[in-house]
Subunit: 607 residues, 2 copies
């Protein structure tokens, strides 16, 4: 029954040979990989405007410079990840690049930051989605958290069904967003160039007494705008979803994603500059531009709705990127091994479930107050960026292959810039949430270190080097504890004789009368197996038995002691209550000891 429910929800199991047909070409892979990255174009330009808004005046004059700088950084990051994909075609992204080139420490830092980030993305995206629904239908106000959890569950099921299913399901909102966004920008450009639509003059009062911007404020605005670049790393972590030739398809997808993202981000910033738009409390920049382009026609609502959708769909990228990364860390012994098991539907099911659990935990912890989480998100991504680029720089410098100087310049400058952004973000947003990263990442890392310590000790102890095969002994000591002499004991005797040579039976004499009966009947069985009667002045069964087994074990220091326990197996569960559970009690009292092997031989109670 459990299996059929599972089939309905997540579908029938897929065989390993079906793996190839489950993979995606560029159009569907784009949906999975790019959702997160392009969703940032919905708010990156607005972050720049907010950064440039000081003393009531928005310094539009600086928008082109900052946007251009971010666009250049985007190109640098894309070029770097293009190198990463080509250099490490089996995936693993920042974790593998940092581990291979900078050492295991930076590798794990990069991996852990990205894992944390993906969980944050899910939490932030679904809470933003549920907040939008609640603001549209205020009577749902108390359902904000449950609604967010429900969205996580939907995404979880979708991803457990497999990557193809979720891509097909989410293709419409992703392409609708891209389409309506580009249309919106085109109309805005057309109306400015051909219809001469100009910015509305600002009230003069605002212009008075506003300070000029310091270098630090410019840097801060730049850093905030860098949120536009987040998500570009996803391709390097999801190489396993691409149809062969994987590297070529991944590079095409990366290029398409970079161009689309660049056009959307630069375009929106340009419109904001040209029309001198300012950040308005209660209305997003996208909404201002959409009104400007479409008025209040149906296109306006389509744009708004698809922007809302893309924010939720962005969470789906995490569901594709987190599990393989977690599987890789698990494979290297930094996370529990079961995370590296491929599930029924050829996805890392345990990783998907872990991500969902982690995201739901964050939603409950922060009760849907996502603004605290946003800075954390960008910081984690930029830890990944800077370590990746530093790692690739090291790679080029060590390899010194064709064009190494040029390549290492790209990644070196990228590493410097992203490192600077990382520091600026941490400092400027420290009090509003970035301190959490400073707390969370070390905790996460020490957890990974403990897990790794266990696996390393295990692996060392498991090594077959210097292994001297034990000389097999042939005594084959077997002990059969008997409570009474009856048919249920016979399978145990039969088995004991089969595997043992030095077989003995023991009976714990809780009362002497029964002990005599047992002795008499045992003799009548004519097994030639000696029976020892153990005294039990305190009428206990388990302790005398355990003591005796240990004594036999210490008298035979190089032998295995097999304890063959006859066990009643009733037909119905309640019949369990009608029997003493000696077998179970002996097992728990003995614990698991080397050389002492406990065997239950079942006797099936007929009714």
């Amino acid at each position: 029954m459990f299996n059929s429910i599972r089939s309905i929800i997540i579908g029938n199991p897929l065989a390993s040979w079906q793996a190839r047909s489950a993979r995606l070409g560029v159009p569907l892979a784009f949906v999975i990989v790019a959702a997160n990255a392009i969703s940032s174009s919905a708010y990156a330009s607005e972050e720049i405007l907010l950064g440039l808004n000081v003393g009531g005046k928005t310094w539009h004059v600086d928008i082109p410079f900052i946007t251009a700088a971010i666009a250049i950084l985007l190109v640098l990051v894309m070029l770097s990840y293009d190198y990463v994909i080509r250099t490490y075609p089996s995936g693993g992204g920042a974790y593998v690049v940092a581990k291979e080139n900078l050492g295991i420490g930076p590798g794990v830092v990069a991996g852990a930051s990205l894992l944390l980030d993906y969980a944050l993305t899910v939490a932030v995206s679904v809470t933003a989605g549920s907040a939008a629904v609640v603001s549209a239908f205020p009577s749902f106000i108390h359902f904000r958290v449950p609604l967010a959890v429900l969205l996580v569950v939907v995404l979880t099921v979708l991803n457990l069904r497999g990557v193809r299913q979720s891509a097909q399901f989410l293709a419409l909102p992703v392409y609708l967003f891209v389409g309506s966004f580009l249309l919106m920008l085109a109309v805005a450009a057309y109306r400015h160039i051909f219809q001469g639509l100009a910015p509305q003059p600002l009230p003069a009062s605002i212009m008075v007494g506003a300070p000029t911007l310091s270098a630090f404020l410019l840097l801060r605005a730049f850093s905030s705008g860098c949120v536009a670049i987040t998500g570009v790393e996803a391709v390097s972590n999801t190489l396993n979803i691409f149809r062969p030739p994987e590297v070529r398809n991944a590079r095409i997808t990366l290029l398409v994603m970079g161009v689309v993202l660049g056009v959307m981000f630069v375009g929106l910033s340009a419109v904001a500059y040209v029309y001198e738009l300012r950040p308005v409390e209660g209305e997003t920049l996208v909404s201002q531009v959409a009104r400007l382009s479409f008025g209040s026609s149906v296109f306006y609502y389509v744009t708004q709705l698809s922007t809302l959708f893309i924010l939720v769909v962005a969470a789906n990228t995490s569901f594709s990127a987190f599990p393989p990364l977690a599987a890789r860390l698990a494979h290297d012994g930094f996370l529990p091994r079961p995370l590296s098991n491929l599930g029924d539907r050829l996805v890392f099911s345990n990783g998907i479930l872990l991500l969902a659990g982690f995201a739901i935990l964050l939603i409950f912890l922060f009760q849907g107050d996502v603004h605290q989480l946003l800075p954390l998100y960008a910081i984690g991504v930029f830890i990944g960026f800077s370590l990746t680029m530093a790692g690739m720089t090291r790679y080029w410098r060590q390899k010194r292959g064709h064009g190494w100087w040029h390549s290492s310049l790209v990644t070196g400058v990228g590493a410097l810039v992203t490192g600077t952004v990382l520091i600026v973000l941490t400092v400027t947003k420290f009090t509003t949430g970035a301190w959490l990263v400073v707390v969370a990442i070390p905790i996460l890392l020490s957890g990974l270190a403990v897990i790794h310590g266990h696996y390393r000790a295990l692996a060392e102890s498991l090594s077959l080097e210097n292994h001297v095969p034990a000389v097999p002994t042939r005594r084959r000591v077997v002990i059969i504890p008997v409570g009474g002499v009856h048919r249920a004991v016979l399978p145990a005797i039969e088995y004991a004789r089969l595997i043992g040579r030095d077989v003995q039976a023991v009976h714990v004499a809780v009362d002497t009368e029964t002990a005599h009966v047992v002795e008499r009947r045992w003799d009548r069985l004519e097994t030639n197996i000696p029976l020892t009667i153990l005294p039990s002045p305190y009428r206990e069964v388990v302790r005398p038995l355990v003591d005796y087994i240990k004594k036999v074990a210490s008298e035979n220091p190089s032998e295995h002691i097999t304890v063959v326990i006859p066990e009643f197996v009733p037909r119905r569960w309640w019949q369990q209550l009608l029997h003493n559970h000696t077998a179970m009690l002996v097992r728990s009292a003995l614990g698991r000891q080397d050389r002492i092997i406990l065997v239950n031989v079942p006797y099936h109670v007929p009714r």
Copy 2:
């Protein structure tokens, strides 16, 4: 730690050879055995008065006849139980007498009625005690049920500590009750005879128009008064607490108990008759007599308090009588076997705990409303009485030994009278609670029948008659499932070679790459054990393994298949989360099958 807590609460274990010194002489045995019986003298006479109170007039003229009739019945019952003790010196009372002489059915009915009764006694007694406390301290009103449960827990602990401890603890209240009660009766008699204290004249109005009593009403009053006799059966169920010579000590205790009970019951009835006392709402008969004897001196309060205590202490008799009876029924296969295990302190601990649980359940079910339960109590006892006496009559008539005619007359008349009382009680109290017995006893009996059916089928199947010893085969098929080739597998291989001849290893190929590694390393081990690689297109481990084991079992229809599973045993509990639990999953997927023996060979993870 668990053991030391247990030592503090119930004491250190007692050895079986200490059993003799744990037993009791007559003075302490009286405390245990008689508490229940003599407690009924506190309310039996009042029951007669209530029965004779019709139309506002109490027919005192009938008190002597009814009291005398009950006293004669008491003598008959005592004589019968004296026979029972002598005839069945190993105890068992009504259950054994009825089973041996009337058949297994009546025996179980008698046993079940008494078990139900003992549980009711506990529930009724402690609820009466807690109600008395609550009426003295009304602020405890919400604690009536918790207080009753607390009293059950105290009695349980006391009895788990052993019968001697509880006797010593309860001797004071029992003897205080007997002493103050007898003193009260003596003073009342003295004041009537020597000080000429006479009854107060009743208002004349009461005498007008009162009907005369019908034979049925007299019979009903008689039946209600018969509550005086309840508890006499306890001796026959608690023979195991007496110091040798058991039978002699038990008979002395029975005699003492009968005389004390008789004097108290007849004496109180006589005082009520002489002083023409009537039942008064809100004051017990004992309180009326105590005021009459002691005024409001300290003796009045001592009498009242000791009467309250005896009602609670009466419950203790059940704790001594229920467990041995339950153990006997368990021994005969009508109740779960563990009830017949003697515990650490030489008492049937499981029986004590069952009684406590049963009583607490009743307290919660009836929320301390004990009046509903009182009729049930008397009915159960009289089922036991009539079956015992009928059984003894049958015994005498079949044996026809010396004086059989005289003895069978005693028990025969007794059986007739107690049978009549049983019917009258059931009819007159049917609507006020006796219907519960008509429901409860059949339910209880069918439960016992189901249990007995299981044990009987088991015993039949366990019989060694017609048992043909299996011809031991020597193939010794062993399968070792291996996930990887490393040191943890070595103990399993070593053990498999020790016990097996036809040994093979299997590896489930979740991914082909690992499978190749396993194959290569296995060859390098040079074990000469063949390794089978099982394909697993759906990346499952458990199902292919279970299917393979079943296949091997069906290919070797007369062999045992031993599956030796290497198992990681981590040091710390959380490390369990870091491993796949294949051994456990295989065990639960296979279930317990004949001929398939699962063995875990532990490998201890070093840290």
